[in-house]
C-alpha cells in the first residue's frame, strides 16, 4: 500500500516549478523519460531559420508515440511560448518503429531516444549581442506494459549574433532530419491499386531498395488496418493496407543501406487521377487549341528555338560545320542536313517517350524538367566549358572516338554520325527555351494521350530542323558562304565567347537551384577541369615523348577527378537550394504575393480569397502543395470559381505575415484560410494536413 502510494506521488510530481534545460519523468527511481531542447545553432541570427529538437530519452522497454500512434496511445505534443516575432513550424516526425502487442494491437513509436524537430523562425528585429529564451510545454504518453502520461516545461536560451553559428548538436539534428520523411516522391515506382477496401502498392525489385515499410497517417476517424509488407523471391515489395483511398502515409526503405522515407498518398494510380482531373476541369480542356493548331504552334516553336539565346552558340557551331562542309558535294551536304535533323528528331522523340513513360508512372513532369536536375546542368556546364576551351585553342583533341566536345571535327571526319550528334547536342541546349507558342503547344501535349505527345514533339523537331533541311537541300545557297582560310582559326576562337555566355546562363540556373554556393563549387570544379585540359594540351602534343604524355594524362585525370571529388562531392551536393525552388516557379496556380493591403482590397471587392501560409523549410506545407493544392482539379476549381490565390511565403521573416497568422491565433505554418465571396467575416480555416477533397470542399463553400 505504502509502495503504491509512493508510486503515485512519484508519478504525480513531474517536476513543476522552474523550467529546466532537461526534465525527467521518474517512476520508482527509474527515469522513464528525460526531455530536453537542443538547438542546431549555437548563436542565432535575426530572421534566420534554425532547428530546435525536443530530445526524449526513454528508459529501456518504454516507448513514446509517433504522429499517428496506431491502435493505442497518443502522439507527443509541444506547446510553444516564443518571444515576439518568432514562429514555429509543426513537429517534423522521424519515422517510427512498429510494435505489435498481444491482442493484435499495433502501435507506432520510438524507444531509446528520439529527437522531434521543429523549424524556428526568429524575429528579424533581434539585436545581436542579446539573448532569447524559447520555452515549450511538452507532453507525452510513455508506455511499457503500462502507460504513464508525462509532461515537462523545457526551455533553451540562445545568444543572438549577426551571423548564425552551428552548435555541437547540429550534427545530431541533421542526422535526425534524414529520418524525417521527404515531401518529394520516392525515387522508385510505387503503383497503388484499390479493391474492396484494400490498398495495395507494388514496388519493383531493385538491389538498392531494401527493408521497405509503410506507416499509415489516416485522417480523423479514417479506419485503417495494419499494413502488411511482403517481399517476393525476386525482390519486389508489396504493401497491403486495409483502408479506403486516399490514405496518407509514409514509405520507408533502406536505399543503398541508408534509411530514407517519403510522404505518399495511397490511391489508385494515374488512370483514376486523370479521370478526376478531366471530370473536374472541362474548362481547362476547352480552353486549349485543337490538335492541328497545337501541332502548328509546336512547329513554329521549333523554328523559334533556333533563335533562342541558349541555342545561339550552337547555331554558330552549325554555321562553322556548314563552312567545313561547303567543299563537299551537294548530295553529301543534304545527307548531313538529314543526319543533323535526325539528331533533332532523336532527341525530341526520346524526350517525348520519356515524358509518356513518366506520365504513365503518375509523376507530374513539367517542360524542361531535365534542367531542374542540378547534376544534369553541372554536366552540361562542364561539357560547354571544355568545348569552349577547345575552341580557344587551350588543347586539341586528336584522339579518335572523342565525345560531343569536338563536334566540328566529328562532323568533318566522322561524317553523318557527327552531324547526327550535332543535332542531338543543339537540341539538348534548346530544350529549356520554350517560346510562347511552344508553351501553349506543350500545355496541350501534357494533357493528351501518349500518341499525341509524340506527334507534338515530332512537330517541334520538324520546326527546329526545317531551316537545316532547307539549307542542305538547296546547297546552291552555300555559295554565299566564305571560303575556308586562316581566318577560320580566329573565327573558331571567337566562337568560344558565345559558349562562355551560355556557361554564364547555365550557372545562373544552377544559382537558382543551389544558391551562391552551388555556383561557387561548380566554378571551382570548372577551374580544375580547365587546369586538367591545359595540362593535357600543353604536354600531350605530338612532339612530347610517350612517357611525358602518360604522366601528363595521369596528372590531368588526377586534377579533374580530384576536383570533381572535392568540389562536387563535398561542396556542390551539400549546397542548399535557394529560396525559390524550381518546382515552385513552375506553379500553375497564379499566386499573388501576400500583403494585407491586397487582401483587404480583394475582400472589400467581395472576391473569394484563398491564402496559403507556407515556407520552404516547412515539409508539411510543401507536401500539401504538391498533393492537395497544386492539382489539376483544384487549379480548375480556383479558375472556375474566380478564387484569388494568395501565397503568404514565410520562408524569410515577414512581420506582416506573422501578424496575419497571429490574427488567427497561429504561431506557425502551414495554415490555410479561405474567405468566401462577399462574406469576409466568415473565413474558413483548413486543417494543417490537407487532402485534395478537403481543399475542394472548402473552395466550393467559398461561392
Amino acid at each position: 500500500m505504502f509502495r503504491s502510494w509512493l508510486t503515485i506521488l512519484a508519478v504525480t510530481i513531474i517536476i513543476c516549478g522552474t523550467p529546466h534545460a532537461s526534465v525527467a519523468q521518474v517512476l520508482d527511481g527509474k527515469t522513464l523519460v528525460k526531455a530536453e531542447l537542443i538547438s542546431s545553432a549555437r548563436a542565432i541570427a535575426p530572421g534566420e531559420t534554425f532547428y530546435i529538437g525536443l530530445k526524449l530519452t526513454m528508459e529501456p522497454g518504454w516507448h513514446t508515440y509517433w504522429e499517428y500512434p496506431g491502435d493505442a496511445g497518443i502522439p507527443t505534443k509541444i506547446k510553444w511560448d516564443l518571444p515576439p516575432g518568432f514562429g514555429a513550424g509543426p513537429i517534423e516526425w522521424p519515422i517510427p518503429k512498429a510494435k505489435l502487442e498481444p491482442g493484435d494491437i499495433e502501435v507506432y513509436g520510438y524507444s531509446g531516444e528520439v529527437v522531434l524537430l521543429i523549424a524556428i523562425q526568429p524575429s528579424a528585429d533581434l539585436a545581436p549581442g542579446t539573448e532569447v529564451t524559447l520555452r515549450a510545454a511538452a507532453s507525452w504518453l510513455v508506455c511499457e506494459e503500462i502507460c504513464i502520461p508525462g509532461s515537462a516545461k523545457v526551455e533553451i536560451t540562445l545568444p543572438v549574433a549577426a551571423t548564425a553559428s552551428a552548435s555541437e548538436f547540429a550534427k545530431t539534428i541533421a542526422d535526425w532530419q534524414t529520418r524525417v520523411p521527404s515531401a518529394e516522391p520516392p525515387p522508385f515506382d510505387v503503383a497503388w491499386s484499390e479493391s474492396e477496401g484494400l490498398l495495395t502498392a507494388q514496388i519493383p525489385a531493385s538491389t538498392e531498395i531494401q527493408d521497405v515499410r509503410f506507416f499509415p497517417l489516416p485522417g480523423d476517424n479514417q479506419s485503417v488496418g495494419h499494413p502488411i509488407v511482403t517481399k517476393s523471391p525476386d525482390g519486389a515489395y508489396s504493401v497491403k493496407v486495409k483502408s479506403g483511398a486516399p490514405l496518407r502515409g509514409v514509405i520507408a526503405a533502406k536505399v543503398n543501406g541508408e534509411e530514407r522515407s517519403w510522404l505518399v498518398v495511397a490511391q489508385s494510380g494515374a488512370a483514376e487521377m486523370a479521370e478526376t482531373s478531366s471530370d473536374a476541369s472541362p474548362g481547362l480542356i476547352e480552353a486549349l487549341p485543337p490538335l492541328w493548331q497545337a501541332l502548328l504552334f509546336g512547329f513554329l516553336g521549333g523554328i523559334i528555338l533556333n533563335l533562342m539565346p541558349c541555342v545561339l552558340p550552337v547555331i554558330s557551331l552549325k554555321i562553322f560545320g556548314f563552312i567545313r562542309q561547303a567543299g563537299d558535294d551537294p548530295r553529301q551536304i543534304l545527307l548531313h542536313g538529314v543526319a543533323f535533323s535526325s539528331g533533332i528528331f532523336f532527341w525530341f522523340l526520346g524526350l517525348g517517350a520519356v515524358i509518356v513513360a513518366l506520365k504513365a508512372s503518375g509523376t507530374e513532369v513539367t517542360w524542361a524538367f531535365q534542367f531542374q536536375n542540378p547534376m544534369f546542368i553541372l554536366v552540361i556546364a562542364a561539357v560547354v566549358f571544355v568545348f569552349a576551351l577547345n575552341l580557344c585553342g587551350v588543347f586539341e583533341l586528336t584522339l579518335p572516338g572523342k565525345a560531343v566536345g569536338t563536334m566540328s571535327d566529328l562532323s568533318g571526319k566522322e561524317g553523318f554520325s557527327g552531324s547526327f550528334f550535332q543535332g542531338v547536342f543543339a537540341t539538348l541546349l534548346a530544350t529549356p527555351c520554350t517560346g510562347p507558342f511552344l508553351g501553349t503547344a506543350l500545355g496541350f501535349a501534357f494533357s493528351q494521350p501518349g500518341g499525341v505527345v509524340m506527334a507534338m514533339f515530332g512537330s517541334i523537331a520538324l520546326g527546329m530542323a526545317s531551316p537545316y533541311l532547307l539549307l542542305s537541300a538547296r546547297p546552291g545557297w552555300m555559295k554565299f558562304l566564305p571560303k575556308p582560310g586562316a581566318w577560320m582559326e580566329k573565327l573558331k576562337q571567337f566562337m568560344a565567347f558565345p559558349l562562355f555566355a551560355t556557361l554564364l546562363w547555365l550557372l545562373s540556373i544552377l544559382g537558382g537551384q543551389k544558391g551562391i554556393d552551388g555556383i561557387l563549387w561548380t566554378s571551382a570544379f570548372l577551374l580544375s577541369l580547365g587546369l586538367a585540359v591545359w595540362i593535357y594540351g600543353a604536354f600531350c602534343g605530338p612532339l612530347s615523348s610517350v612517357r611525358t604524355r602518360i604522366v601528363a594524362v595521369l596528372c590531368a585525370l588526377g586534377v579533374a577527378v580530384g576536383g570533381g571529388w572535392f568540389f562536387i562531392g563535398s561542396g556542390f551536393l551539400a549546397a542548399t537550394a535557394s529560396a525559390q525552388s524550381a518546382a515552385e516557379s513552375k506553379d500553375a496556380i497564379r499566386w499573388q504575393p501576400f500583403s494585407q493591403a491586397l487582401v483587404d482590397e480583394l475582400l472589400a471587392a467581395g472576391k473569394p480569397v484563398f491564402i496559403d501560409f507556407t515556407a520552404d523549410w516547412c515539409i508539411t506545407c510543401k507536401f500539401n502543395e504538391r498533393t492537395a493544392i497544386n492539382t489539376p482539379a483544384v487549379r480548375a476549381l480556383i479558375e472556375e470559381l474566380g478564387v484569388v490565390p494568395v501565397k503568404a511565403d514565410w520562408t524569410n521573416s515577414n512581420p506582416e505575415i506573422t501578424a496575419a497568422l497571429k490574427a488567427f491565433g497561429r504561431v506557425g505554418v502551414p495554415f490555410y484560410v479561405i474567405y468566401p465571396a462577399g462574406r469576409a467575416n466568415e473565413p474558413i480555416t483548413l486543417p494543417e494536413i490537407l487532402t485534395e477533397s478537403i481543399v475542394i470542399e472548402a473552395l466550393k463553400k467559398s461561392r
Binding site: A72, P102, I105, L141, E145, C147, P149, N221
Partner: protein, 198 residues
C-alpha cells in the same frame, strides 16, 4: 451436463471466430462473470440498449474519467434511463487492470461505480471478439442486439480531465439519438487510450 457445456463452449467459440464487430450488424454474443460472481449474457438484455465499456482502472485514459467522476455520472445518467452499462476488463492475469473479485468489490465501492456490472474477461476472448484495442473503448448495442456505435468515448484524445467539459461525448450522443428514434450521426470513430493488456 459436462458434454452440454463443452458443446456450448465450442459453439460459442465458433460464433466468436466468424463474428467481427461491425456497425449495423448483430453484436457478438458473450457470457461473462462480474465482480460479484454473477453471470451476464448479452442475450439477457434483448429489448434494452446496452453500453460496453472496455476498462483498465490503472490506465491514465480511464483514470481521466473515473478520477474526475465523469464516467460514474455518465453511467448513472444512462442506467437511470433503463440502459444497461457493462464495463469489461480484458487485462490478463498479472497485467495492469487485472484484479480479483474481492479487490474489485472494494475498488468499485471506493470509486462509486454506477454501471450495471463490471465483467472480468481475463482470457481476453470477448475483447478479441469485439476487437477492442484500447481502454476506454465504447460499444453501443440497440434493443435488437445490433451494434450502433463503436469507437472512442469522446473527441479529445488526452489524459487530462480538464478536456472532458469541452469534448463531444460520442456515447451520450449515440444513445440520445437512438433512444429518440433517430439514426446515429457518428456511428464509428477511432478509439484512443492505452492498449488493452491482453
Amino acid at each position: 451436463m459436462k458434454l452440454h457445456l463443452i458443446a456450448t463452449a465450442l459453439l460459442f467459440t465458433a460464433t466468436m471466430a466468424i463474428a467481427s464487430p461491425e456497425v449495423g450488424k448483430p453484436a457478438p454474443a458473450f457470457t461473462l462473470t462480474d465482480s460479484n460472481g454473477k453471470s451476464h449474457s448479452l442475450s439477457d438484455f434483448k429489448g434494452k440498449f446496452v453500453v460496453l465499456e472496455w476498462v483498465n482502472l490503472g490506465c491514465p485514459f480511464v483514470k481521466k474519467f473515473y478520477d474526475s467522476g465523469e464516467m460514474q455520472k455518465l453511467q448513472a445518467a444512462h442506467t437511470g434511463k433503463d440502459v444497461v452499462w457493462l464495463s469489461i476488463c480484458s487485462s490478463a492475469e498479472g497485467k495492469q487492470g487485472h484484479h480479483t473479485p474481492a479487490e474489485l468489490q472494494a475498488k468499485l465501492e471506493s470509486i462509486g461505480y454506477k454501471g450495471t456490472g463490471y465483467l472480468i474477461d481475463a482470457d481476453g476472448t470477448v475483447g478479441k471478439a469485439y476487437e477492442a484495442r484500447t481502454t476506454p473503448e465504447m460499444f453501443v448495442i440497440n434493443p435488437e442486439g445490433v451494434l450502433i456505435y463503436k469507437g472512442a468515448i469522446d473527441d479529445k484524445p488526452s489524459t487530462d480531465s480538464a478536456d472532458i467539459a469541452a469534448a463531444r461525448n460520442f456515447v451520450a450522443a449515440a444513445l440520445g439519438e437512438a433512444t429518440s428514434g433517430q439514426a446515429v450521426t457518428t456511428a464509428e470513430t477511432k478509439s484512443y487510450g492505452c492498449s488493452v493488456k491482453y
